[in-house]
C-alpha cells in the first residue's frame, strides 16, 4: 500500500511538473480558470518585458550610434555598399573625389573638428623626435590637430578643404589650401612630412601613388614621411570589410552648420521633417527621410544629416606596391595599429 501511495504522489508530482512546464511554454489549454488568468497575466508581463527589452535595445543602439560618432567620430551605422565603380579616367576619379570627399569634408568640417582633438600616439612620437628648427609639411592636415604639437619645428599644414584651413588659421597654425597631387612647395625642401588618414581618400591606385610621389618630391634626401591609412580589418569597430572601396557615413549635427545663412536649405530640411511627423510613425522619435544623396534624421528635436565619404581601405602590402613605383624612396617600417596601416617612408 505504502508503495502504491508513493507511486501516486510521484505521478501527481510529475503531472504538476508537466503543467508548469507547459505554462512556461505558453502553450497550455488548461480548463482551470485560475490557471488561465494566471498564465494570461504571466504572458502579458512577459510580452511587456519583451517589448521593453526590445525598445531599450533599440534605444541603446540609437544612442550608441550618436554617441560613438559625436565622441570619437567613428561611424557605427552599417556601411552601405553604394555602387562604386573604379573611375575609368583620371578626370572621372578627380570628380568622384570632389563630390565624395572634398565637398563632404567642407560641409562637416566644424563638426569633425569637435570630434578630433586626441593625437594619435604614433604621430605624436614621430613629431616629438623632429629636431629643433626643422621644417615639415602636414599634407591633408584636416582640423590641424598635429600642427601645434612641436613648437620647435615649423610645420606647414595644407588641406584641399577650405573650411579646414580656416579652422587651422583660427588656431593660429600655418595652413594653406592645396591639392596633395599639386603641392605648392619647392622640391627637396622639407625635413619631414606627415600624411595622416589622407591617402585612402584617393580613388585609384595611380592617384594614390602620385599623391605619395608628390610628398616624396618635396622631401629632402634622407627625410622621412609618416603616412597612415585605414585598413580593411576594422575589427576593433566590430567590422570586417570584404570590399575595399566603401562609403563611410557621417552623422552630421546641424548645430555645426558652417553655412547657416543658407536659409533655403534649412527650410527644406524642416519641411521634410514636418512631413515626416505627420506619418504613422508618431511614436518613433527617429524619422528617416531620403532626400537625394543625403538622409535627414530627427532625433529628440535635433536634426542630423547623413553624409558619405569615400574610402579606399588598405590591404596588407599595398604601401609596398605603391613604393615599388617610386624609386626615390624606401619603406623603413610598416605596421598595423588600431586597424590603421602606418608606414615610415624614407627618401633616398
Amino acid at each position: 500500500m505504502t508503495d502504491s501511495n508513493i507511486d501516486i504522489d510521484k505521478l501527481n508530482l510529475n503531472e504538476s511538473f508537466k503543467e508548469e512546464k507547459l505554462n512556461e511554454n505558453d502553450n497550455d489549454d488548461d480548463d482551470d480558470n485560475n490557471t488561465i488568468s494566471r498564465n494570461k497575466s504571466k504572458k502579458e508581463l512577459k510580452k511587456l518585458q519583451k517589448q521593453q527589452y526590445k525598445q531599450q535595445k533599440k534605444q541603446d543602439k540609437k544612442n550608441n550610434k550618436v554617441n560613438k560618432i559625436i565622441n570619437e567620430g567613428v561611424p557605427d551605422i552599417s556601411e552601405e555598399k553604394i555602387n562604386f565603380e573604379e573611375p575609368k579616367t583620371d578626370r572621372e576619379a578627380y570628380q568622384v573625389e570632389v563630390k565624395h570627399v572634398r565637398e563632404i569634408y567642407d560641409r562637416i568640417a566644424l563638426h569633425f573638428d569637435s570630434t578630433r582633438y586626441k593625437a594619435w600616439p604614433i604621430v605624436e612620437k614621430f613629431l616629438e623626435k623632429v629636431s629643433i628648427g626643422s621644417i615639415g609639411v602636414d599634407v591633408g592636415c584636416g582640423n590641424g590637430k598635429y600642427l601645434g604639437l612641436n613648437k620647435n619645428s615649423h610645420l606647414i599644414g595644407s588641406d584641399i578643404c577650405n573650411n579646414f584651413t580656416s579652422i587651422c588659421n583660427e588656431k593660429h597654425y600655418e595652413s594653406l589650401v592645396a591639392d596633395n597631387l599639386y603641392l605648392p612647395y619647392k622640391s627637396n625642401s622639407f625635413d619631414y612630412a606627415i600624411s595622416i588618414a589622407v591617402i585612402h581618400h584617393f580613388s585609384t591606385f595611380d592617384r594614390r601613388t602620385e599623391a605619395l610621389r608628390e610628398i616624396i618630391r618635396v622631401l629632402k634626401s634622407g627625410a622621412t614621411l609618416l603616412i597612415t591609412s585605414w585598413a580593411t580589418t576594422q575589427k576593433w569597430k566590430g567590422k570586417n570589410y570584404d570590399y575595399q572601396d566603401v562609403m563611410v557615413p557621417w552623422l552630421f549635427q546641424n548645430q555645426f552648420d558652417m553655412t547657416k545663412k543658407n536659409d533655403e536649405k534649412q527650410d527644406k530640411h524642416i519641411s521634410s521633417n514636418n512631413k515626416n511627423n505627420e506619418n504613422e510613425n508618431k511614436n518613433e522619435d527617429e524619422n528617416e527621410n531620403e532626400n537625394g544623396d543625403e538622409k535627414i534624421i530627427e532625433k529628440s528635436g535635433s536634426q542630423y544629416e547623413v553624409y558619405h565619404r569615400y574610402y579606399h581601405l588598405f590591404e596588407n602590402g599595398e604601401f609596398e606596391k605603391m613604393v615599388a613605383q617610386i624609386p626615390e624612396c624606401e619603406i623603413i617600417e610598416n605596421n598595423l595599429d588600431h586597424d590603421n596601416y602606418y608606414c615610415l617612408i624614407k627618401k633616398k
Binding site: R91, G133, I135, H154, T165, V177, D179, Y182, K186
Partner: protein, 128 residues
Amino acid sequence: MKILTHNMMACTKKQCMGKGFPLKVECTEQIVLEQEFNYEFTKNIYPKLDWAGIAEISKKFNIPIQLDTTKHSLEDEEFLKTLHSLLCNLKVITGSLTCPNCQRVYPIDKGIPNMLLREDEIYQDIKE
C-alpha cells in the same frame, strides 16, 4: 602666411617645376606677431633658406637685412634676431602670390593662400 612658409613655396603647375619660385608677393594687409626669438631654431633654419625668396620679401616690405650670404655670421645675434622676426613674425593676411614663370595668381585671404588649381587648369591638355 608667414614668410618662412613663403620661403618654401612654389607654383603648383607641373610646367613650372624648378622655375616657379620665389612667388611674387602682393600684400594689402599684414600683421606682426610677437613670437620670442629662438637662437637655436633660427640657427638651424638658416641653412635651409632660399635667399632669393628673402630678397623678394625684403624688397616688398622694405625691411633691411643683409642679403649677401658671404657676409652672414651665425655669431651675429642681431642679424639672427632680424631674420627670425622677418620669418616668423610677419604674416600676410590679404594679398596674392604670383608665379614668376607662368604668372598664375594665387589669392591670399584671411591669412590663407589658396593654391588650388581649377579643374580646367588640371585637365587643360586632355581633349574630351
